[in-house]
Amino acid sequence: MSKLKSSDMELDFDRPNIEDYLSTDSIQEPSGKLRLRDLLDISPTLTEAGGAIVDASILSLSGDSFTRCFKSNPPEPWNWNVYLFPLWCLGVVVRYGILFPVRVLILTLGWMIFLSCYIPVHLLLKGHDKLRKKLERGLVELLCSFFVASWTGVVKYHGPRPSARPKQVFVANHTSMIDFIILEQMTAFAVIMQKHPGWVGLVQSTILESVGCIWFNRSEAKDREVVARKLREHVEGPDNNPLLIFPEGTCVNNHYTVMFKKGVFELGSTICPIAIKYNKIFVDAFWNSKKQSFTTHLLQLMTSWAVVCDVWYLEPQNMKPGETPIEFAERVREIISARAGIKKVPWDGYLKYSRPSPIHRERKQQAFAESVLRRLEDK
């Protein structure tokens, strides 16, 4: 395995840190004097290309390819015969005709209660910050419970509930924005999120602001430093809500975890891992943001029978002496993946949004070049 480089001081959210993981010496190291056939034999590189095209498992990439992490596997249709089909139709009628309106009602009720309490609290208790924050926290938790009820969420929480202490950051694997709602229902976390357009953005700037949220914009380069600073400030403030971060940086389909961004692991705080696993029995909770808007996603959840998931709060971890932030991140990812029963892949989530940089290709070239030159010396 290639050695892991030590991180630079700057928190770097947008740079794909894939080069630290991709092992360039995965292909068997040839040895001995360099011959014509060694230069002519491009089969290892071609095999990698072929494997990529075919989406095959190659030893060097430890299994599954990038695109698999974002594939929503449609469930096997079960309504394919004479008596199952009418049953399914009945189910559709119940779900869309009865459950959905009831859920919409519940959600509307929830919003009304929330707003009628939140707005007065927010405006009138301006002076009494401690009390105001406490009430606002409770109200946000309440609203999230209403959301969860509106999809008939069957959430089983395992492990000790998070307690608010300074210098503590919670990390979880990410499948959909509802992860946040499910976790928020139990504890009012502060989050760091991508700023979304539309009504979601509105909610983000008003309500979530009160629990303490940090915004970033993936496409803005300068944003990184600002966000890094805000993160550090937040973690160190004793009155702030515990911070929740999804280090994958994007939604993954809950069968895999992609690489964690090292940013939060460099802060020197205790990391409390949370593992979330959805049961696809009634609905697939994976939000494929390229295929669906959040509203469509929510509607899909609200017209299915239930959203079933398990949440495990795992033992807090600290960086071990001599461990680099990247090793720490990988260790935490291993803990989360093992608990949730999902596979790890060595791919960077941001490759969903942009092409891999030339650096990755250059690494392969460098490895080959060095091998050639070295073998030239061998007589």
């Binding site: 990529a52 989406d55 030239l376």
Partner: protein
């Protein structure tokens, strides 16, 4: 997505199988079709260069540019034929021919020093100087009994690579 084997009839599968000289089993061809449809996002019936580049593992491959030439605009039958060299059932001859084609960019059956240099440049990038590359190539060519201005043909490639235990295999994932 949602393209299942119901889109391919038995006739289609057999036709493709024949076209690739039975190097893939029928199940593998079905899997390849699913993969083809997954890559062919705009359902144009062929995969464009851009769609290939969306596979990160392919985009970082040093030989991706050379392979583009060979794969751009392939329909499914041609796609399978292109990949047939990677099957475990493909003969050594077939694999060596494939490697030869990658080198022989103008398809005239001849590989010159410049072609060898081009591929070596793709594989080593900026990490060896152009001069050094030429030196290395000339040296190994001469050791193998060729000259710098020798033109290599397929039989030369067979001779050089024929008994090296060439391994170029990819397993098509079959659900």
């Amino acid at each position: 997505m949602g393209n299942t084997s119901s889109m391919l009839t038995q006739y289609d599968i057999e036709e493709v199988q024949e076209h690739c000289n039975n190097t893939f089993s029928q199940q593998e061809i079905v899997s390849l079709y699913q993969r083809f449809c997954q890559l062919d996002r705009n359902s144009g019936g062929f995969i464009s260069a851009d769609e290939f580049l969306s596979v990160p593992e392919f985009a970082v491959n040093p030989l991706s540019q050379r392979l583009f030439r060979m794969i751009d605009g392939l329909n499914f039958k041609e796609f399978v034929a292109f990949l047939s060299a990677f099957s475990s059932r493909a003969t050594l001859q077939h694999k060596v021919e494939y490697i030869f084609k990658v080198y022989d960019s103008d398809g005239n059956g001849k590989v010159a020093f410049s072609d060898l240099l081009d591929v070596l440049r793709d594989l080593t990038g900026q990490f060896i100087s152009e001069q050094q590359r030429e030196l290395v190539l000339t040296q190994v060519l001469e050791e193998a009994g060729y000259k710098k201005d020798s033109i290599l043909v397929l039989s030369d490639f067979m001779k050089i690579l024929g008994n090296t235990g060439l391994k170029m295999e990819v397993e098509v994932p079959v659900d």
